[in-house]
């Protein structure tokens, strides 16, 4: 989806601003929002690609005018509503009205550490050989899927060079096609592709710049 979240190369956001005193969280609700999102992710009712997709498909004006953890909360509410895990009336009331749905897993204080230490690797065995090799020229497809994708717009249609192979990884574009487990898992080779700055940004751009993108195999085509 050509969403507002796909920010690479957009202009007009001004200088990068720094906080004089950095705080990990700027209010208690931010820390609760972060941790609830992590904990609900562990419930297994969605996957990381579905949660990204929920945030990215917020209305553009809402996305741009929301703070970071506000986007997380809006995304979380959306994921819960879509799965009938909560109702709008319950969100408004802050109280249980309807019975819960069954979830795969609920983190407890005793299981948090192990869950965080394990993470959620996306690397999977892959039997078919990789189509591309290191040093090979490839082109990022000029594609504009309606659904979730991780190929940023600024790279689309441009030629780059394969820098490395990362093995088989779960393809986000397919991983978002089924809302509930078992999710739609398609494994593809994942590559890092480097693009010259002037290829992406024009002949008058800084020639010393290179940008890499991590791209699944179906995002790429060979250049003859």
């Amino acid at each position: 989806m050509n969403g507002v979240h796909d920010m690479g190369g957009q202009q007009g956001f001004g200088p990068v601003l720094f906080e004089e005193v950095e705080a990990l969280f700027h209010a208690d609700w931010e820390s609760r929002a972060m941790a609830m999102t992590v904990a609900m992710g562990a419930s297994g009712q969605w996957n990381i690609d579905l949660s990204r997709s929920a945030r990215e498909s917020l209305p553009p004006a809402v996305y741009l005018s929301s703070s970071y953890y506000e986007i997380w909360i809006r995304g979380l509410e959306k994921l819960l509503l879509e799965r009938n895990m909560v109702t709008q009336a319950e969100l408004s009331a802050g109280q249980l009205i309807a019975p819960p749905v069954k979830v795969n897993k609920v983190l407890t204080r005793d299981t948090v550490d192990a869950a965080l230490k394990a993470g959620s690797p996306t690397k999977r065995p892959i039997s078919q050989p990789a189509l591309f090799k290191v040093g090979q020229k490839v082109r990022a497809l000029n594609m504009h899927p309606q659904g979730h994708t991780r190929l940023p717009r600024y790279a689309r249609g441009h030629e780059g060079t394969i820098v490395s192979l990362h093995g088989g990884h779960v393809l986000p574009d397919q991983h978002t096609l089924r809302a509930l487990p078992p999710f739609n898992v398609v494994v593809e080779w994942l590559y890092t592709v480097v693009f010259d700055g002037p290829t992406l940004w024009g002949a008058d751009s800084d020639p010393t710049v290179e940008v890499t993108v991590d791209a699944w195999e179906s995002y790429l085509e060979a250049v003859a």
Partner: protein, 205 residues
């Protein structure tokens, strides 16, 4: 900008009506999710505690210092960062697949996530506000040299800048150049020189 502040200063110049609206909204959500049995508030506390007190840039600094001090570890780190970093006990969420990129006299590396906020939590903790900002996400790939100037980092004109956009589940850590005159320092002392921003590629050491 060398590390996290744990001082929760609530006197920022924010719109407090919006903050309190979010406070209410998030509390309501937590109450509801706990009543449903989907979350356990003690688990929420433990997750916060982990990222406030335990996981942070001091982890990454240990990785960098060890790489500076031990050529074999550095070689392993470049070859298989996930395994080398795991050997120090840093594994898990948002660090499942690690790549370390080394700054050299010819090439400076810098990390961004233009699509969201992907960041190597296991070695750097949670990202700072600027890393998640629209300004950084939009400009880092388009005009990294100007962004570095915002950070007060002057690079020689002919130094190549490679910007790593974290568009998949690979997480990047920059291995900064070891400063001159540090041969006599212990690994612990070296770790004390390593800043978070240097490991993102928006600072030099």
């Amino acid at each position: 900008m060398t590390g996290h502040s744990h001082d929760h200063d609530h006197s920022h110049d924010h719109d407090h009506s919006i903050l309190s609206e979010m406070e209410v909204r998030v509390r309501a959500l937590e109450t509801l999710l706990a009543q449903k049995g989907y979350i356990n508030p003690a688990a929420i506390d433990r997750i916060i505690e982990t990222y406030e007190k335990e996981v942070g840039p001091h982890n990454g600094a240990q990785v960098v210092a060890k790489a500076w001090a031990e050529p074999d570890f550095k070689a392993w780190l470049i070859q298989d960062a996930t395994a080398a970093i795991a050997s120090l006990g840093f594994t898990g969420r948002q660090g499942e697949h690690m790549v370390v990129v080394e700054n050299t006299p010819d090439q400076h590396n810098m990390v961004v996530c233009t699509l969201c906020s992907c960041y190597p939590w296991t070695v750097l903790g949670l990202p700072p506000v600027w890393y998640k900002s629209a300004a950084y996400r939009s400009r880092a790939v388009l005009e990294p040299r100007k962004v570095l100037a915002d950070f007060g980092v002057p690079l020689p004109e002919n130094t190549r800048i490679r910007v790593w956009d974290s568009t998949a589940e690979v997480r990047y850590l920059v291995l900064p150049k070891r400063p001159h005159g540090t041969d006599h320092l212990s690994t612990t002392e070296l770790a004390g020189l390593v800043t978070r921003d240097a490991m993102i590629g928006t600072a030099l050491i």
